[in-house]
């Protein structure tokens, strides 16, 4: 392999992106438009920063001190319009009739659980354990995404204080969310998914690029030079890794401008960008497989959706609003782990060395390399002519 050849081919790809409107759109305009569209639709742009949700609260133990504080903290978010219900049945009725988007049921021993924690903060054996229930409007993807997150956040920070982030709590949530949103807009909980969402379209670009070059006889022409298959693939990897990083930086600038401020500092940002960049290899692999199957650049566009759609719907932010089985299916897709890692790093504030982040990084890296190698072999065997 000669790096000079691969770099020459990579530069050629970069020039194509800058000069061909369709590619320029996919790399630069599409992510910007996507981010602004989501920002506008989900609360980061225009009017109030805060979306509004009607939430019913049922305190089965009556208006205890802890229940009142919890109610007050929920109200203080500014996002939730609360309605108090004396019994769960009435609240459920309101939910089923569309008057509410969610119901939170504080168990009868809620106050006792909180007090036991406060009296013995380091002694779980002394706690009264309890479970808080959440009922959601199944038809609202946004509610499914946001309400459990906010309830969890208010419970953690308002009721149990900072200690809650480092130790177990006596109260668990029946429908726990994996996302803990710092801000108050839906957009902020969706933001990490935008990175994988935009990157996935690279599959289509790689496929179109290779099928186009094959149709025009350029691939054959390159192969009658001393350039090897490895040089060609390396050229694509260099080119699209750089494009992936550039695209991620562009989206980051957009989401930041729209109010999404990641937590975790420079290490979290760096690891996040590494994960997004590595994910580009996976998309190159899928692109090569698509190019091997497709007979023309036009067909490549259609066939690329075989790889695009599952990742878009099951592997990015959309997945969190899907059924449990669909979410389980998402775990077989690399995009899921990209979104999960970015959420952990930039939204939840997980450490870069945390098990969750390292596991995600490992899955993304291994799967991306494997898919790339499979793509190279499939294209080598079926795609060159």
């Amino acid at each position: 392999m000669k790096l000079g050849r691969s770099l020459a081919l990579a530069k050629k790809d970069w020039k194509r992106i800058l000069r061909e409107p369709a590619f320029l759109f996919m790399i630069i305009l599409f992510p910007v438009m996507l981010t602004v569209a989501f920002g506008t639709s989900f609360g980061a742009v225009g009017g109030s920063q805060a979306a509004s949700f009607n939430l019913g609260v049922v305190a089965q133990g009556g208006n205890s001190t802890s229940a009142s504080q919890f109610y007050y903290d929920l109200q203080a978010t500014g996002v939730l319009k609360l309605a108090s219900y004396s019994d769960n049945q009435t609240a459920q009725s309101a939910l089923s009739q569309g008057g509410l988007q969610a119901v939170v049921v504080l168990p009868a021993d809620f106050d006792e659980a909180v007090q036991s924690f406060r009296a013995h903060p380091g002694e779980p054996i002394m706690w009264t354990n309890s479970t808080l229930s959440i009922y959601l409007d199944k038809g609202s993807a946004v509610t499914a995404q946001v309400i459990p997150t906010m309830v969890s956040q208010v419970l953690d920070e308002g009721i149990f204080g900072a200690k809650s982030t480092v130790q177990a709590l006596p109260i668990s949530i029946s429908a726990p969310s994996q996302v803990r949103v710092k801000g108050s807009t839906v957009f902020q909980s969706f933001a990490p998914g935008l990175f994988a969402f935009a990157s996935i379209y690279m599959i289509m670009m790689v496929a179109q690029s290779f099928t186009g070059d094959r149709e025009n006889g350029l691939l054959r022409r390159i192969l009658v030079t001393p350039t090897t298959n490895v040089d060609i693939v390396m050229g694509s990897v260099i080119s699209y890794l750089a494009i992936g990083l550039f695209q991620a930086l562009l989206i980051f600038a957009c989401v930041y401008a729209l109010g999404y401020v990641p937590v975790g500092g420079a290490p979290a940002l760096s690891v996040g960008f590494v994960i997004i960049t590595v994910f580009a290899m996976c998309n190159i692999g899928f692109g090569l497989i698509t190019a091997a199957i497709a007979k023309s650049a036009g067909a490549a566009t259609g066939i690329s959706f075989i790889f695009l759609m599952p990742q878009l719907f099951l592997g990015t932010f959309v997945g969190s609003a899907l059924s449990p089985s669909a979410q389980a299916a998402g775990r077989f897709l690399p995009a899921y782990y990209v979104t999960d890692a970015l959420t952990s790093l930039w939204t939840r504030g997980a450490a870069v060395t945390s098990t969750a982040v390292l596991a995600d990084l490992t899955v993304v890296s291994v799967s991306s390399i494997v898919i790339l190698l499979v793509g190279v072999q499939v294209f080598k065997k079926f795609g060159k002519s």
Binding site: K2, R221, V224, T225
Partner: protein, 254 residues
């Protein structure tokens, strides 16, 4: 039919080359030796096996049987070394539409690892020779068909290769452009380069080629210099020889 070979290593030596595509025998037991520093014309009707032969010489197609040697290097086992001394302009104008003429030429120079400084000079030289210097900064997508052919030829010649394969190099060119390409080909021959070209223009073969090989149905049916063939068949020109050997029936296929 086999041409008498010199003692020196030929530029290209084809021995019993056969290439089959499923039930079609595109090239059938072709044996041919092309000497250094000559212009060799591979002539034949559509679908006769010219391009398949060129593709076997470059190694892009694997022969069903037989061998191809480029300056003694077996294209199948020593492909990268052999390709280093080959310059190829394929039948289709395989050029990057979004790059300028000069960028296309320089890209192919870099694929042959030509040093940057030398590459710029060489790119300017070949672009000048094919008459595209003034237009070399424009994107190829805006070129005419003939201009794209000329860029394609410049891409093949940027590395100053010892052997040049030109598959129908002047298709779509106007007479002036064709004449300047002819002059360049003869200049290359005079500098000791070996040029193998395929063409449907018999006057082009008459003008340029030291030797021509006429193939039909994948077989070599005649070989010799244009002058010798004209005399042998008592023909007015090479086209007359060609029609006598291959018939008047219009052929299909590439």
């Amino acid at each position: 039919m086999q041409r008498e070979t010199s003692l020196a290593t030929p530029a290209i030596a084809i021995e019993g080359l056969t290439k089959e595509f499923e039930d079609i025998k595109a090239v059938d037991s072709l044996t041919l030796s092309i000497s250094e520093a000559e212009v060799f014309g591979l002539l034949g009707p559509n679908g006769s096996g010219k391009t398949t032969t060129i593709n076997c010489i470059t190694g892009i197609l694997k022969p069903t049987s037989g061998t191809v040697r480029v300056r003694g290097l077996d294209i199948r086992t020593q492909g990268p070394e052999a390709r280093q001394i080959l310059g190829v302009s394929p039948q289709e104008s395989a050029v990057y539409q979004y790059l300028t003429g000069k960028e296309n030429v320089e890209l192919f120079g870099r694929l042959y690892s030509v040093p940057k400084g030398a590459l710029r000079q060489r790119a300017d030289y070949v672009l000048e020779k094919v008459g595209l210097m003034e237009e070399s900064g424009r994107r190829v997508g805006r070129y005419s068909g003939g201009m794209k052919r000329r860029v394609s030829i410049a891409m093949a010649l940027v590395t100053d290769p010892k052997i040049v394969l030109l598959d129908e190099p002047t298709v779509g060119m106007d007479p002036q452009a064709r004449r300047s390409v002819w002059d360049f080909i003869l200049e290359l021959r005079d500098k000791g380069k070996t040029i193998v070209l395929t063409t449907h223009y018999m006057e082009e073969a008459d003008e340029l080629c030291d030797e021509v090989g006429i193939i039909d149905h994948g077989r070599l049916i005649e070989l010799g210099s244009p002058t010798d063939l004209r005399e042998k068949y008592r023909a007015r020109d090479l086209e007359d020889v060609f029609i006598r050997l291959t018939g008047r029936r219009i052929r299909e296929g590439a």
